[in-house]
C-alpha cells in the first residue's frame, strides 16, 4: 500500500540546515496497523506529514497505492489527500461552527458527492463510531473522546486507502484513549490500513507493528502481538 525509499527531508533554519529524515525505507501492506514511535525531534511527525502530502520530501520515493506521489501542486495534493487519505489529529481539528454530521460530511463535499448521499453517509459513519444521536451537536457540545470519534468518522467518510493518525490519544485520558484505540482496532479489523504516530508505549502496543524512529532513521521495525483495547474499556 505504501512504499517509501530513501526518503530525506531537511529544514532550513537560517544558515543551518536541519536534517530531519535521513533516508527512511519502509513499506506498509494493506490492512496493517502501524505505530510510528519516537521521541520528539525524531522526525515522526515530519514523516507523517510527508505521508499525508502536507509536506514534501527533498529526495526519495513515495508510492501510495501504486501512485507515485511527486511534483504535487496544491490542487493535486488536495485531490490526492481527499481520495487516498484520512486524517486524525491530536487536537481533533473539527470545524467548530459545523455540527458533527456536517464535519463528517465535509470530505464528501469536496468529492462532490450529492447532498443527500452525503448526509446518509455521514450518519452511517457516525453510527459506526457510536455517535449517531449526537449528529446535530456542535463540537463544543461534545467531550474529548466524542470529538475524536467524530474526527475518526470524518476520516473514514471519504473511504480512504490509508488512515493517518497523529497522536490520536494525545489529548485524552487513558480510559478514553482506550475507547478510541478500540475503535481504531475495529476499523483496522474491517481491513483498513492505519498509521498511528504516538509516543505512548501502551498505545503502540495496541498496534500490529511498531516502527521506531530516532534522529531521522528507523532504528527498529518489528511486528508485535496486538493488545486488544477492548479489555480495558
Amino acid at each position: 500500500m505504501i512504499q517509501i525509499k530513501d526518503l530525506h527531508k531537511s529544514y532550513k533554519m537560517g544558515k543551518n540546515s536541519l536534517h530531519v529524515l535521513k533516508g527512511i525505507n519502509f513499506n506498509v501492506e494493506e490492512g496493517e496497523l502501524v505505530a510510528i514511535m519516537g521521541s520528539s525531534g525524531s522526525g515522526k511527525s515530519t514523516l507523517l506529514n510527508i505521508l499525508g502530502m502536507l509536506d514534501s520530501s527533498d529526495s526519495g520515493e513515495y508510492i501510495l497505492d501504486n501512485v507515485p506521489i511527486k511534483d504535487l501542486n496544491e490542487t493535486k495534493a488536495a485531490r490526492y489527500r481527499n481520495k487516498f487519505l484520512g486524517f486524525v489529529f491530536q487536537s481533533f481539528n473539527l470545524i467548530n461552527y459545523k455540527s458533527a454530521a456536517e464535519n463528517v460530511a465535509l470530505p464528501l463535499y469536496y468529492q462532490k458527492v450529492p447532498r443527500k448521499e452525503r448526509q446518509e453517509k455521514a450518519l452511517k459513519y457516525l453510527e459506526q463510531v457510536g455517535l449517531k444521536e449526537w449528529a446535530g451537536h456542535l463540537p463544543s457540545e461534545l467531550s474529548g473522546g466524542q470529538k475524536q470519534r467524530v474526527a475518526i468518522a470524518r476520516a473514514l467518510a471519504a473511504e480512504p486507502k490509508v488512515l493517518l493518525a497523529d497522536e490520536p490519544t494525545g489529548a485524552l485520558d487513558s480510559k478514553t484513549s482506550y475507547e478510541v484505540m478500540d475503535l481504531i482496532q475495529k476499523i483496522n479489523d474491517a481491513g483498513n490500513t492505519i498509521l498511528i504516530v504516538t509516543h505512548e508505549p501502551d498505545i503502540a502496543d495496541m498496534c500490529k507493528r511498531i516502527v521506531h524512529l530516532k534522529d531521522g532513521v528507523i532504528i527498529e521495525d518489528k511486528k508485535i502481538e496486538q493488545v486488544r483495547a477492548e479489555q480495558y474499556v
Binding site: L54, N82, Y109
Partner: protein
C-alpha cells in the same frame, strides 16, 4: 455559485460575528449612500438649471449693432449704424440651416420711463416689434385672444399682445382686455391677446412686455427699414455656434463694415452658454462619481481588512479543509464570494437608504415650494445598475488580497498553530 452549502457557509461565517459584519458593511453602504446622494444632488441641480432655460430655443443667437471701430470704404470709424430688413433677407439667402431669423425692434427697456397709457393708468413696459416666429424662440402661453400673425405683419395692423403683468397694471380686476385700446407712445394699439411666460429667470419683467407686429411698429415709431436686433435660431441638426461667424460676415458686408471689425456687431450665443452649462453638468457628475468612489474605496478597504482578519482567525479551519482535500481555488472562491456578498448586501442597503433619503428630500422640497436651481433630485435606474457593477467589482477587489493570502496558507502550518 448557487451551491446551497457554499451559501450556508457564507451566512454562517458572516453571522458568526454580527457586530463586526455590520460595522464592516456600514463602510460600503455609506460609500454607496454618498455616491447616490451626490449623483442625485447633481441631477437636482441639472434639473433646476434646465428648467431655468425652460422651453427657450437654445440653439439661438442674438445679434445687435454697435458703433464701428475701423474706418472702411470711406466711412469713418465710430459710425452708428442699424441693421436693415435687407440684412434679414441676405442672411436668409446666404446662410443655410437656419430655422428662424426674427428681426426685432424695441421701445422702453430697463429703467425706462412710462411709455404706455390707458385711460388714467400709465406704465413703463418693454414694447417689441416682432414677427410671429418669435413665439417659437421665446415660448409663451397665450392666455386669451391670439398672438401676432402673418396678416398683422402684411397689413401693418396696430394690434398688441400684452403680458399678464401689463394687464394687472393697466386694467382692473375682471375687466375685459381683448378689444380695448392702449396708447403706446401716443399711438393707439388694440389689444388682441394676453400671454404668460414661464418664469425663466427674468421674473416679473418677463410678464411686462407688449408684442406688436414688426411692420406696424416700424411705421408707428418711424423706424423705417431699421432692425434693432435679431434672434436667429439654427435647425436642430446644426449648431448656431458654427454658423454665427457666417451670419455676422453677411451683415458686415451689407452694412459696409470692415471684416476685421470685431466690435461693430455684438452677439450673444445662447447655445454656447447652454453647452457650457451642459459641460458643467458633466463635470458635476464626474465629481460625484469621483468623490463617491473614493468614499466607497475606504469602505472596500475596510471589507478587505476584515476579510484578512477573518482569514487569520480561520487559518486553522482552512488548514483542516485543505487537509481534508479542499482545492485551493475552492477556498479562494469561498473568500471572494463572501466578500462580494458582503459588499453587495451592504451596498444595496446603502442604495435603499440613499433612495429613501432622496425621497425625503423631494417630499420636503414639495412641501416648502420651489427652490432656486434645484428641482427633483433623483437617480436613474442606470445609476443604480452602474453602482451595482461598482459593488461587484469592489467586492472582487476587496476579496482578492485576502483570498490570495488564504490559499497561501499551507495546511501543515495552519495545523501546527495550536
Amino acid at each position: 455559485m448557487f451551491n446551497r452549502d457554499r451559501w450556508k457557509e457564507i451566512l454562517e461565517v458572516l453571522s458568526s460575528n454580527v457586530f463586526r459584519t455590520l460595522a464592516t458593511s456600514f463602510g460600503v453602504g455609506w460609500g454607496i449612500f454618498i455616491l447616490i446622494i451626490l449623483l442625485a444632488a447633481g441631477k437636482g441641480m441639472e434639473n433646476g438649471i434646465r428648467a431655468d432655460f425652460g422651453d427657450i430655443a437654445t440653439n439661438t443667437m442674438f445679434m445687435w449693432s454697435r458703433n464701428t471701430t475701423i474706418s472702411y470704404k470711406g466711412l469713418p470709424k465710430g459710425r452708428r449704424f442699424s441693421f436693415k430688413l435687407e440684412d434679414v433677407q441676405a442672411i436668409n439667402d446666404k446662410v443655410s440651416n437656419l430655422r428662424f431669423i426674427s428681426p426685432r425692434n424695441q421701445l422702453g427697456g430697463f429703467g425706462g420711463g412710462n411709455n404706455v397709457v390707458r385711460g388714467l393708468k400709465t406704465g413703463a413696459f418693454n414694447v417689441y416689434g416682432d414677427y410671429p416666429e418669435i413665439i417659437r424662440q421665446e415660448p409663451m402661453t397665450i392666455t386669451s385672444g391670439r398672438f401676432v400673425n402673418q396678416n398683422d405683419i402684411e397689413d401693418k395692423r396696430k394690434i398688441a399682445v400684452i403680458g399678464d403683468g401689463v394687464k394687472n397694471e393697466l386694467y382692473d380686476q375682471g375687466e375685459t382686455v381683448i378689444g380695448t385700446y392702449i396708447k403706446i407712445q401716443g399711438v393707439n394699439f388694440m389689444v388682441v391677446g394676453t400671454y404668460q411666460k414661464k418664469d425663466s429667470g427674468g421674473g416679473e419683467e418677463g410678464q411686462k412686455e407688449i408684442y406688436v407686429p414688426f411692420t406696424a411698429f416700424s411705421q408707428a415709431f418711424n423706424m423705417g427699414n431699421d432692425v434693432g436686433w435679431m434672434a436667429i435660431t439654427a435647425n436642430d441638426g446644426s449648431s448656431i455656434s458654427e454658423l454665427k461667424e457666417k451670419i455676422v460676415g453677411v451683415v458686415k458686408e451689407n452694412r459696409k463694415i470692415h471684416p476685421d471689425d470685431k466690435r461693430a456687431v455684438g452677439y450673444f450665443d445662447l447655445y454656447e452658454q447652454f453647452n457650457r452649462v451642459e459641460s458643467l453638468f458633466g463635470a458635476l457628475r464626474w465629481v460625484a462619481y469621483f468623490v463617491g468612489v473614493l468614499v466607497l474605496l475606504s469602505g472596500i478597504i475596510g471589507v478587505s481588512n476584515i476579510m484578512l482578519i477573518v482569514i487569520k482567525e480561520r487559518t486553522k479551519e482552512i488548514g483542516i479543509r485543505r487537509a481534508l482535500g479542499e482545492a485551493p481555488w475552492s477556498i479562494k472562491k469561498q473568500i471572494l464570494m463572501e466578500s462580494i456578498f458582503l459588499t453587495i448586501i451592504s451596498g444595496m442597503i446603502g442604495i435603499i437608504f440613499g433612495a429613501a433619503f432622496i425621497y425625503g428630500v423631494n417630499a420636503v422640497l414639495d412641501s416648502i415650494g420651489p427652490v432656486d436651481m434645484f428641482i427633483n433630485p433623483s437617480v436613474s435606474l442606470g445609476v443604480v445598475v452602474s453602482a451595482l457593477f461598482i459593488l461587484i467589482f469592489s467586492g472582487l477587489l476587496a476579496g482578492f488580497i485576502p483570498a490570495q493570502s488564504a490559499i497561501k496558507i499551507r495546511p501543515i502550518e495552519a495545523l501546527r498553530t495550536e
